[in-house]
Amino acid sequence: MKITHLTSLVLLGTSLAACVTINIYFPAAAAEKAADKIIEEVWQLQKPAPERLNPGSEGQKAEKSTPAQSTQPQK
């Protein structure tokens, strides 16, 4: 039972220590993401929108699929 107490205390201690450490260090990755978002807004940079290309590529696919279907009966 003593061992359980000891491990609980150690775990509690490390968890609390983890809380403190996380808050002290500068979140570099999050800051970079936030900076990118602000820069994109200020400079009005638009990310390439692949969605816009989809209808066109789907149309091409549909066109391609018709000859493919026509070749199938020949086989």
Binding site: S8, S15, I22
Partner: protein, 143 residues
């Protein structure tokens, strides 16, 4: 029996503590959605129309400390030179306020320098080809 109860209570505390550490992880996100930051962003966005031409001509460049500076005044017609200086000064005022406000919005005013250096790298990273930027050594380089 008491011992069992107290040890189970400790375990509950351990679980609670680990949950709290998760909350702290979530809070590691950078807060940028405050009215002050939105105002600065809008002001900078409006000014960008004027500055973009100067970035392209090489008159204004991006500095290594997250600001902008007049790099080559000769790239601007004589009559417009005063305008460049004032637009650069206004932009730098907004940029300094932006870095300060982001640090403050996250409850860590001491993060200002790190936020500034993060921005300095990202501005240059996202700059268009042909724009000028200052390398860490202070030399002007064309992207």
């Amino acid at each position: 029996m008491k011992k069992i109860i107290s040890s189970s209570m400790l375990w509950v505390m351990v679980i609670a503590a680990s949950f709290l550490s998760h909350v702290a992880y979530a809070a590691a996100d950078i807060e940028v959605n405050t009215p002050a930051i939105a105002g600065i962003k809008q002001s900078m966005q409006q000014r960008h129309g004027q500055l973009a031409a100067h970035y392209s001509s090489g008159a204004v460049g991006l500095t290594a400390d997250g600001m902008v500076a007049v790099r080559d005044a000769n790239a601007v017609p004589l009559a417009a030179r005063g305008g460049v200086n004032s637009v650069v000064a206004a932009e730098n005022q907004d940029r300094a306020a932006l870095y300060r406000e982001i640090a403050r919005a996250n409850g860590h005013p001491e993060w200002e320098a790190e936020i500034r250096s993060t921005f300095a790298q990202r501005w240059i990273q996202k700059a268009q080809g042909g724009w000028w930027y200052q390398s860490a050594s202070g030399a002007w380089t064309k992207k």
